[in-house]
């Protein structure tokens, strides 16, 4: 019995487990991975990508699966960026303008995507994937041909190709000093990673305590053990960190962008908070059963569209954070991998098509990027060739998505076959019986 429980748990968390092992193995086999390098990279990658990954959570809750359509959000942000840079605004005001411009665009595109998803019910993910490709075509049309082709622009503008039609392949966003946008947000203030982690673990403890109290209030009979365990772990972490600070090791010079992390925390809180609102609950209901939600008077299609819009806007903001940290902007390729990588990251965190939360997003982003940092090393150490590590990494990205999706569907199918009768309460056949009644009369 217990054995079966454990195997169940392993199947459920197969993907994250693979990655934890992968990273740990990576560490042990690759002889020289300076910790400083590792953590600097990990933290900067984390802050670049986390919001993009977070933007995937809401659609999952609303039952739309993994929204590959966030690519469109990214495009919105880039379109906005082009405008901002064209009138070469920069610094904080430039950034604010950037946000302001990308918001409505993302909102609108999100609306269209939502519409599409309602038309392709049950096929949202593949539709999202394809609509990404499709939008990419349009995006190129606009920035390669319309700019300068239809919309007249000065041919000598640094962003415009010498021949006066279309934008250059890479656009340097410039340093804030020169009124640029690079580090416009990250640059404002920094703090040592170690301190941040320490803070996080302390806050973690507090939050844990409050959750615990709330659960008690709703008199849930839960095992206290879980809480104690988590608390213990956090304490240990805190202790280590304190040690680092006192020892003032190399790790102390790894810094994280303060404002960005604040934004991230805010987004997390907002998402979590949204789940606790009426709207969030509706998303949840729609996600769990469209039919029952419909019958209980929830406007299913509308909710789904709202969810997609939220996700798209969030994605746009995510891309802003990403680009302002990168500093240079590949006009025609910065957005392409976004969908693929973010989805993979979320899945790595242990989310599934039907279940995702902030925890998954955060853990996923950490593990996924850790893998990216480590994989060349593994390629080097195991295969003796960096290139092999490269291909291996690509394989992991695709493989993970495939695997995670596979496991999920396989499990649901298996459950279905286990309890045929339960199916009656399942939304689809619930509908079926709805109209077989119509046949009867």
């Amino acid at each position: 019995m217990r054995g079966r429980k454990i195997t169940e748990w392993i199947i459920d968390n197969l993907v994250p487990i693979i990655f934890v092992l992968f990273t740990i193995v990576g560490f042990s086999v690759s002889d020289d991975v300076p910790l400083v390098f590792f953590f600097r990279e990990l933290s900067s990658r984390f802050f670049r990508n986390i919001i993009l990954v977070l933007s995937l959570v809401i659609p999952v809750i609303a039952g739309l699966g993994l929204n590959f359509g966030i690519v469109i959000g990214a495009m919105a942000a880039q379109a906005a960026l082009v405008l901002v840079r064209f009138f070469d605004a920069g610094g904080i005001p430039g950034t604010l303008l950037w946000f302001a411009l990308s918001f409505p665009v993302a909102l609108f595109l999100g609306y269209l995507t939502g519409k599409l998803f309602n038309k392709t019910r049950g096929q949202e993910m593949i539709a999202g994937l394809i609509v990404g490709f499709f939008a990419n075509g349009v995006y190129q049309f606009v920035f390669l041909y319309c700019v300068g082709g239809l919309i007249k622009v000065p041919a000598d503008h640094p962003m415009v190709k010498p021949d006066g039609v279309g934008l250059r392949a890479t656009i340097d966003m410039g340093k804030p000093a020169e009124g640029g946008l690079q580090y416009a947000i990250d640059g404002i203030a920094k703090m040592p990673l170690v301190w941040a982690l320490l803070l996080a673990s302390v806050i973690g403890l507090v939050v844990l305590f409050f959750i615990y109290r709330k659960r008690r209030m709703l008199n849930r009979a839960e095992s206290k053990f879980g809480y104690y365990f988590k608390a213990a772990v956090l304490l240990v972490a805190a202790f280590f960190l304190a040690g680092e600070i006192r020892g003032n090791t190399m790790l102390m010079n790894v810094e994280i962008p303060l404002v960005t992390s604040v934004i991230v925390v805010l987004v997390c809180i907002m998402t979590q908070w949204l789940v606790e609102t009426k709207l969030g609950q509706d998303f949840n209901s729609v996600g769990k059963s469209q039919y029952i939600s419909k019958v209980s008077g929830i406007d299913v299609d509308r909710k789904r569209i709202i969810a997609v819009m939220m996700s798209t806007v969030l994605a746009a903001f995510g891309q802003i954070i990403y680009l302002q940290d990168m500093g240079t902007f590949n006009t025609y390729s910065s957005h392409e991998q976004i969908g693929m990588f973010s989805v993979a990251a979320l899945l790595v965190g242990g989310a599934s098509v039907a279940k995702a939360n902030i925890g998954h997003a955060i853990l996923g982003t950490i593990l996924f990027n850790a893998m990216f940092i480590i994989s060349p090393e593994i390629g080097q150490a195991v295969f003796g060739q960096v290139l092999l590590g490269e291909y291996f990494r690509t394989f992991m990205v695709y493989g993970v998505i495939g695997l995670a999706l596979g496991i999920y569907v396989w499990k649901t199918n298996r459950q279905k076959s286990l309890l045929i009768i339960k199916e009656a309460s399942d939304s689809v056949s619930g509908y079926a019986s709805g109209n077989s009644q119509e046949v009867k009369n």
Partner: protein, 538 residues
């Protein structure tokens, strides 16, 4: 106790041509439990669909007549409006989200919330859930049905009995609930669960809620109902006070009808051969039509009818025999044990099946008629194919020829044998299914709901055809149908199934009352009751 909550006035409804409700009227008083009984297709569900403004109704041209709630004439266009108007429904198949806690299910789309900064600025949609209050409400609702179960437990894994109660809890939690409709609430419950439920129902009524109680269990009705309204063939038979009627009368009124198709000979004139199919303790896991242990002997050369109410497993039997749904127990056909869950085996051993779900299981709608006719035999014993050694290619001419013959024999009305089966009328589609079955020339033909959704003319043709097959070619037939009349018109024996078991076997000319009682499974229970009167009242 005399204010009229619900008043249905001469409501009529027809689905593309055929009348399913003919000006039905009845009314429900405050605190009254009003039982609504009738066979399947009597029009109960249509009536309820109308009451709930189900899209089905309005997409098919609305209905005639009027509905008054609390004295006000109301036109309900959607389930939501029905909810607002104070009509609640306890569904037969549960409208509960397994992944949700009881509270969340009770409160779905009616969550209690409180304001926060953002919601004040943006929209009420963003108000925070007041989980504590929600839990309280849920608790209250549950308590009022005195159910001990914790409100934060998830639905999945709960016994059906509880689910039924949670459905009720959800309805009574809706403020301003006036009328509550129970659709076969006890169908899936155990005796004790049912007992609790009934007492709960009575308590609700006592609180002044009008209750429409749809059930086939006449004994229950006698226990709880104040009034009984009987529907038959879409028209109101009578509404009676409980006290001046009794189960036998109800049963009689429910079933009794002018049998549309006269039978010209009676069973006893015929001599039947030995048993060709025998079932022992036969179980079938067919969703909604479970069979819970059936023993049955089918004699060679007879037409055996299987009747009973929907959801009681009469359909399960045939599907089980054919291995379409997982079955356990013993099924011996012609001396050989049938492999369970193995359609191939069943077909190979000489059984043919015409499914009740014509469009779903019976036909390849966008394939040609001829392919539909020969499909099974082609797959099962390679007939109608050229054998090229490495592959078997279909033999167009042979197929064409056979199809032509069948089309003539059963006179299937079609432009050509290449016409898509989907484009045929119901009757002709049924004939195509039959044609396929006959092409297998089976020893035993199972046919379910042969006349469902077919106009009266075609009905007659099909039934005559079956009769002819049996009498002329001495083909054994098991015919499952929810229309007693047609069973009685051609069957030699009629098995009545109730709650997954065989309630009894009747000759076609048995009295309406017997049929009624058996179908409602009340016979047995009434016997029990008279045995142990003391507990009668709960």
């Amino acid at each position: 106790m005399n204010t009229c909550l619900l008043n249905i006035k001469n409501v009529s409804k027809e689905y593309n041509g055929n009348q399913v409700l003919k000006d039905v009227s009845f009314s429900v008083m405050k605190g009254e439990i009003h039982a609504l009984v009738g066979e399947n297709g009597a029009g109960k569900s249509t009536l309820m669909n109308i009451l709930f403004g189900m899209p089905v109704i309005h997409s098919t041209g609305g209905f005639k007549g009027s509905i008054e709630i609390d004295g006000k004439r109301s036109s309900i266009k959607s389930p939501v409006e029905a909810m607002r108007a104070g009509i609640g429904m306890v569904h037969q198949e549960f409208m509960l989200i397994p992944g949700y806690s009881i509270t969340e299910n009770i409160k779905i789309n009616r969550e209690t919330t409180y304001d926060n900064i953002i919601s004040r600025i943006l929209s009420k949609q963003l108000q925070t859930l007041d989980r504590v209050k929600m839990a309280k409400d849920a608790r209250r609702a549950l308590d009022s049905l005195d159910i001990g179960i914790e409100e934060y437990v998830k639905i999945e894994g709960l016994p059906v009995g509880y689910k039924q109660f949670i459905e009720i809890a959800r309805e009574i939690d809706k403020e301003g609930l006036k009328i509550l409709v129970f659709d076969e609430p006890t169908a899936v419950l155990t005796e004790t669960e049912a007992a609790n439920l009934l007492s709960a129902v009575q308590r609700l009524a006592a609180n002044g809620i009008g209750i429409v109680f749809i059930s086939h269990r006449l004994d229950e009705i006698m226990d709880v109902a104040d009034k009984v309204t009987i529907l038959r063939d879409g028209s109101l038979v009578v509404t009676k006070e409980k006290k001046d009627t009794d189960p036998h009368e109800i049963a009689q009124l429910m079933v009794g009808r002018t049998v549309s198709i006269r039978r010209n000979e009676t069973a006893d004139q015929k001599k039947f051969g030995s048993s060709i199919l025998s079932l022992k303790n036969f179980h079938v896991e067919m969703p909604g039509e479970q069979v819970k242990g059936v023993d049955l002997e089918v004699k060679e050369g007879e037409i055996l009818g299987i009747g009973g109410l929907a959801g009681h497993g009469k359909l399960g039997i045939a599907n089980g025999i054919m291995g379409i749904y997982p079955a356990t127990g013993e099924a011996v056909f012609d001396g050989r044990q049938l492999k369970p869950n193995d359609s191939k085996n069943s077909i190979r051993s000489g059984l043919a099946f015409v499914s009740e779900d014509r469009k779903g299981v019976g036909l390849l709608l966008d394939e040609s008629i001829e392919m539909n006719i020969v499909f099974t035999v082609m797959q099962m014993n390679n007939s109608f194919t050229h054998d090229l050694g490495f592959a078997k290619i279909r033999n167009a001419e042979a197929i064409r020829k056979h199809a032509k013959k069948m089309i003539d024999d059963l006179d299937i009305r079609c432009t050509s044998s290449l016409q898509a089966a989907g484009s045929l009328s119901g009757g002709n589609q049924q004939k195509v299914c039959l044609a396929r079955a006959l092409t297998q020339n089976p020893r035993l033909l199972l046919i379910s709901e042969p006349t469902r959704g077919i106009d009266i003319g075609a009905k007659k043709l099909i039934l005559d055809l079956l009769l002819e097959l049996n009498r002329k070619h001495n083909m054994t037939i098991i015919m499952t149908s929810s229309e007693l009349a047609e069973l009685r018109s051609i069957c030699d024996r009629i098995v009545i199934v109730c709650e997954g078991r065989i309630e009894g076997i009747l000759p076609p000319d048995a009295s309406d009352t017997d049929f009624g009682l058996m179908m409602s499974g009340s016979q047995r229970r009434l016997k029990v009751k008279t045995g142990e009167t003391g507990h009668g009242g709960h």
